[in-house]
């Protein structure tokens, strides 16, 4: 059975439609990456899955007893809030295996540090540890390597792969780093308000819909963002292959 089954999901903020008629499934133990230009509804999709936004239409069915670990896009810790890494990891549950989570995230030495004193890379690892602490079946990552340099993000994604091997959890992530995505994912979903195309990384990279969004010059793998602001489903995805 699928961990998550999204059917006909539409999400709007006021008059602006963020997602329309999105359907997808996440199976156990797979790594799925969502790509798409800015404003294409990637974050809205994850927020709908964790219940932070109410869908306008459609359904999101979780497998029974599904445990989700969530790594948000960015987390600003106010300087006025003193909190240690281990206290942060214990929120809100109370009892939790802090050592285990920090080891899984590759940063066992940070337990007693203040959250506000961590570097960007360390902070992302701690967020990952917090997502892992409940031993999730599904890990959601929203651009988890934002602000990290290439080495930092490469090692972060290696850690994700290690985590999957060790825990067997499925991973649904958003990423802008297409070259990483293409090598690390089992399946890629190209989103632009709706699902433009999806499939194995190689198949998606050569799909006309994907090329229409990300350009053709580099075969998709290192594409620059060519973002059409007045995106229209029919035209864009199906008729502008040659763009």
């Amino acid at each position: 059975m699928s961990l998550i089954h999204v059917e006909g999901l539409s999400v709007s903020y006021g008059a602006r439609m963020a997602l329309s008629d999105v359907s997808l499934r996440i199976e156990p133990n797979e790594i799925v990456t969502i790509v798409g230009p800015n404003g294409s509804g990637k974050t809205s999709l994850l927020r709908a899955i964790i219940g932070a936004v109410k869908p306008l239409a459609g359904s999101i069915v979780h497998a029974s007893n599904l445990k989700i670990g969530y790594v948000p896009q960015k987390l600003h810790i106010d300087e006025t809030l003193p909190i240690t890494v281990s206290r942060f990891l214990r929120l809100p549950g109370g009892l939790a295996d802090v050592d285990y989570a920090l080891k899984q995230a590759g940063v066992p030495e940070l337990e007693k540090e203040q959250l506000s004193q961590l570097s960007g890379g360390q902070f992302q690892r701690v967020l990952l540890a917090r997502a892992l602490i409940g031993k999730p079946d599904l890990l959601l990552l929203d651009e988890a390597t934002q602000g990290l340099d290439q080495r930092g993000s490469a090692s972060f994604y290696q850690q994700i792969e290690t985590v999957r091997k060790a825990t067997g959890c499925a991973i649904l992530m958003i990423s802008h780093e297409l070259h990483v995505v293409m090598s690390a994912s089992d399946r890629v979903i190209c989103l632009n308000g709706h699902v433009c195309c999806e499939g194995a990384p190689a198949a998606v990279a050569s799909a006309p819909e994907y090329r229409a969004l990300f350009g053709t010059g580099t075969g998709g793998a290192l594409a620059l963002y060519r973002h059409e602001h007045d995106h229209d489903h029919g035209d864009h995805c199906h008729n502008q292959d040659a763009e």
Binding site: I50, A52, I77, D78, I83, T84, R87, R130
Partner: protein, 264 residues
């Protein structure tokens, strides 16, 4: 011992410090400093309405402070900038309150008492209201502590843990309204926000965990009350402001210690 007005004043101030410590920490962490101000100013309108309808002042201030807090919460979700909104509401609530008071013919109230409070005039009945309110606020925040803290860190993180951050915001709003209502007689409208924020801010440099900061803020608030009252007695200064002065001096002291610590 309750016969001594100094003892009653100290007990009232300690009760207030007890409630405003954990609440003040959240106000500081969530950058809601003016939220306390706005709610406190709205309370003046509550006092006027209570007198006009001859209700208990506690009920009137709680109702108006709650309404104010709810209006701020709702409008800020609709996309108004928080500081503008609070500025508009705080000052207009105070102005409407003062105008409303002027319509009350035949009743002469000492508005200064509500603006600055009169901690030395606290009665036994007031003490039970303050301690009842403080106990309620502290238990409410203690009960919701993890949820409140998680939503303060990040709303989406809270949702992912099955916590509704809007509900937690409401809990905080209610706690704030009750604290303002019980405190209005003790330290007065203008000094409530100070008692919320300054002990928490003074506790920050010496805390490593959120819980530690709340406890330290409580201790600073309570000690400042006792020292402030003694100083007011010895120097013949107004009691409420003297207490706030002591908290402010504590803030300078802890911040200075922190600076010295960094230098080393």
């Amino acid at each position: 011992m309750f016969d001594d007005f100094m003892v009653r004043a100290a007990l009232a101030g300690i009760g207030l410090a007890f409630a405003s410590a954990p609440l003040g920490c959240f106000v500081v962490w969530r950058r809601m400093a003016y939220f306390g101000d706005a709610t406190a100013h709205a309370a003046i309108l509550g006092v006027a309405l209570s007198l006009a309808f001859s209700m208990s002042i506690f009920v009137g201030t709680v109702v108006v402070a709650l309404l104010m807090a709810l209006v701020v919460s709702v409008l800020s979700e609709k996309g108004y900038a928080m500081d503008t909104l609070l500025g508009v509401l705080a000052h207009s609530a105070l102005a409407f309150g003062l105008v409303a008071v002027s319509f009350l013919s035949g009743i002469r109230i000492d508005l200064m008492a509500y603006l600055f409070g009169d901690i030395l005039a606290v009665s036994r009945g007031d003490l039970s209201v303050i301690w009842g309110g403080a106990a309620f606020v502290v238990s409410l925040i203690g009960w919701r502590w993890s949820g409140l803290l998680t939503s303060t860190l990040n709303a989406d993180l809270a949702y992912a843990n099955g916590i509704n951050p809007k509900r937690e915001q409401l809990v905080l709003t209610i706690a704030l309204a009750i604290t303002v209502a019980v405190a209005i007689k003790v330290v007065g409208v203008l000094l409530i926000a100070a008692m919320l924020i300054i002990p928490a801010a003074a506790a920050r440099p010496m805390s490593r965990t959120p819980e530690g900061m709340a406890i330290a803020a409580g201790l600073i608030g309570m000690l400042s009350t006792i020292i402030g009252l003694q100083a007011a007695y010895a120097l013949d200064t107004p009691a409420g402001p003297s207490i706030v002065c002591v908290t402010a001096i504590t803030f300078i002291f802890t911040s200075f210690l922190k600076l010295l610590g960094h230098r080393r």
